[in-house]
């Protein structure tokens, strides 16, 4: 403890890979993107400072409509993820015994082991015209032609929900684990109904976990490319596809970079606003 300032050589050696990783793979590419987002070609063919890439976003309706669509879906999926996972988290932490809980929590992780792409293709098998669901409904005679589920906003929502759900479960579970059962009993002892206990005790208590889960899911969904591209097909408007097109279809790197930064800034603003509106503090999140 006395050697507070004089970090020794081992410390620097240990931190070096992390620093290199951060600088070379994260900081430098971002700086490069930031620069190119402000760079345009002058008439003489040289590089000049310009805001045109950013202006393009606001001037062209398709761009910002896509963004609004993407953000709305991301918010919706975040809320859905909360609704779907909260009972699961509550069940795993408060209802069943610890022994089974850890096994079931492990099962939850399985989709993560196979990777996003495989999971998404899995959903194609389930939702396709000749997929599991349609074939089943056809065979029992409930429908006479397949329902269009794949390549719709529905299939995209399912896919995004599925790949992001886990990131909501885990933080909620960790806050619920620290919830003393006697708090629930005390509320009930003081005359609170089940609903009141849920809204006044359990939800406020797990708010830090819900918030951090919400931030992760929202960011993951709004920045996802695979699920909207494969499950959403051509009909879905997803902003990351817009960015992809700028870089790889029209080769407009400047606009692609600008859109990337707009995505980062606007989605961060949405999170900031959501934190303000619900009275949460970022420092408390995840604690």
């Amino acid at each position: 403890m006395e050697n507070k300032k004089g970090f020794n050589i081992t410390f620097y050696l240990l931190i070096l890979p992390v620093l290199l990783w951060l600088i070379v793979l994260i900081v430098l590419p971002h700086l490069d993107l930031l620069i190119s987002s402000f760079q345009g070609d002058s008439d003489a063919g040289g590089k000049v400072f310009t805001l045109e890439h950013y202006m393009a976003f606001f001037q062209s309706k398709i761009y910002w409509l896509t963004f609004i669509n993407t953000a709305a879906y991301a918010i919706g999926i975040t809320i859905l993820a909360f609704i779907v996972t909260f009972p699961v988290a509550f069940y795993l932490t408060k209802v069943i015994s610890k022994k089974y809980a850890s096994f079931l929590a492990l099962l939850l992780l399985i989709p993560l082991w196979v990777g996003e792409l495989v999971t998404v293709y899995g959903w194609m098998i389930i939702l396709g015209d000749h997929g599991v669901i349609n074939e089943f409904l056809l065979s029992i005679g409930l429908i006479d032609k397949p329902i269009d589920m794949l390549y719709t906003n529905f299939s995209m929502t399912i896919g995004l929900l599925y790949i992001s759900m886990l990131f909501m479960v885990v933080p909620i579970m960790s806050t619920l684990e620290s919830l003393d059962d006697s708090l629930i009993e005390a509320a009930s002892d003081l005359g609170a109904s089940k609903w009141t206990i849920f809204t006044k005790i359990i939800i406020p208590y797990s708010m830090p976990g819900i918030t951090s889960g919400g931030i992760i899911v929202f960011m993951l969904v709004i920045g996802d490319y695979v699920a909207p591209d494969i499950l959403g097909g051509k009909s879905s408007l997803w902003f990351t596809e817009q960015i992809y097109n700028e870089f790889l279809s029209t080769f407009n790197w400047g606009e692609g970079a600008a859109f990337g930064f707009l995505l980062l800034m606007i989605s961060s603003s949405i999170i900031w606003l959501a934190l303000k509106l619900t009275g949460q503090k970022l420092e408390r999140v995840g604690s």
């Binding site: 003393d180 006697s182 708090l183 009993e185 005390a186 509320a187 009930s188 002892d189 003081l190 005359g191 609170a192 109904s193 009141t196 006044k200 005790i201 406020p204 208590y205 708010m207």
Partner: protein, 350 residues
């Protein structure tokens, strides 16, 4: 006095194990009733049955003459102060105390009046806006008590609420709780494994062991006349000596210490003697006492609670003896031989 709580043949069985066995007792209105027992004796199970968190396997609970079977905790006229206190961490002091009142849908002004009145009673005026996490242990204690008492319960159940406090604060809270109970007149049922808490605060104490009540009595009687060997050993300090035989008016311990103890109509197995029951150098004319000699082994100085460990000369049995509160035995030192006497009635045989 009015019986506020009647318990008849209450039993609770868990899978393959009976936590509470056929317990019956009554609690008088306005009384301070303690249930004292070692951990795992079933006292918390008993408390949770009274509060309605667990269902009894058999027997009846009546509160103010009303059978409680099937009535959920939120509908019972009892409130609990939990061992962990269970204060709501996301609420401030006022919100914690007002929580139960809000559930009764009272008017805001009425809630405010009741809360500030209650906070004043537990000397927490001005703490309304404080977060419960900012309070000291004793203050949190009082918030928990205020939160329950503001509901005006018929009975307040306290589940070892002083357990988490340090010793000094616990001593202080013991007195404060007792005074608060006297002032409010609410019936308290207090669960503890600490015999001093039970003895100091209670009007009546039930000693519980292995799911049964061993004795229900006033603290003084419990201490003076323990009904069973368990009570004698659990309540207060005692020298425990196993007995080998009884021969007329004499009993002999396993060590071979022969004592006169007339008036026994059974063959006892164990003998309990309180450290303060020993009379050092008893007067020659004192009757009805067993006399013997001990050799001082060590002196265990502890202020007013000083004791000596001594060895009985004829048998080598080791006993703890309290030193009287006067200067007469200050010069006692290791290796001294002293004559000691014990009143027959203080030789508790079971």
């Amino acid at each position: 006095m009015n019986k506020i709580l009647e318990i008849k043949n209450l039993t609770k069985e868990f899978k393959g194990f009976t936590a509470v066995k056929n317990v019956s007792f009554n609690v008088d209105e306005g009384g301070f009733f303690s249930i004292l027992g070692p951990s795992g004796c079933g006292k918390t199970t008993l408390l949770r049955m009274i509060s309605g968190f667990i269902q009894e396997s058999g027997g009846e609970i009546f509160i103010r003459g009303k059978l409680m079977r099937g009535i959920p905790p939120e509908k019972r006229p009892v409130n609990i102060v939990f061992q962990s206190l269970a204060l709501f961490p996301m609420m401030n002091v006022r919100e914690n105390v007002a929580f139960g009142l809000k559930r009764q849908k009272l008017k805001k002004s009425e809630i405010d009046d009741k809360v500030s009145d209650m906070l004043a009673r537990v000397s927490l005026q001005g703490f309304e806006k404080k977060k419960v996490t900012e309070l000291s242990g004793g203050q949190r204690q009082r918030v928990a008590i205020a939160r329950s008492l503001v509901m005006k319960p018929s009975i307040l159940l306290l589940d070892e609420p002083l357990g988490a406090l340090d010793r000094k604060l616990r001593e202080h809270m013991k007195i404060e709780l007792k005074l608060l109970q006297k002032e409010l007149g609410t019936t308290f049922i207090y669960i503890t494994h600490d015999q001093s808490e039970a003895l100091v605060m209670s009007d009546k104490v039930a000693v519980m062991n292995k799911g049964r009540f061993e004795q229900i009595d006033t603290p003084r009687n419990l201490y003076k006349n323990p009904a069973t060997a368990f009570v004698a050993g659990f309540v207060g300090e005692s020298n425990r000596l196993e007995l080998k035989s009884k021969d007329g008016d004499f009993i002999t311990t396993k060590d071979g210490w022969k004592l006169k103890r007339p008036g026994l109509d059974f063959t006892p197995e164990v003998l309990y003697i309180r450290p303060e029951a020993f009379i050092l150098t008893p007067a020659k004319n004192l009757d009805n006492i067993s006399r013997f000699e001990v050799k001082i082994k060590t002196i265990l100085f502890d202020g007013s609670n000083t004791k000596v460990a001594a060895i009985e000369s004829s048998s080598g049995a080791e006993v703890l003896i309290s030193l009287p509160q006067n200067a007469r035995f200050e010069n006692l030192k290791e290796g001294d031989t002293v004559e000691v006497g014990i009143n027959y009635e203080n030789l508790k045989c079971y």
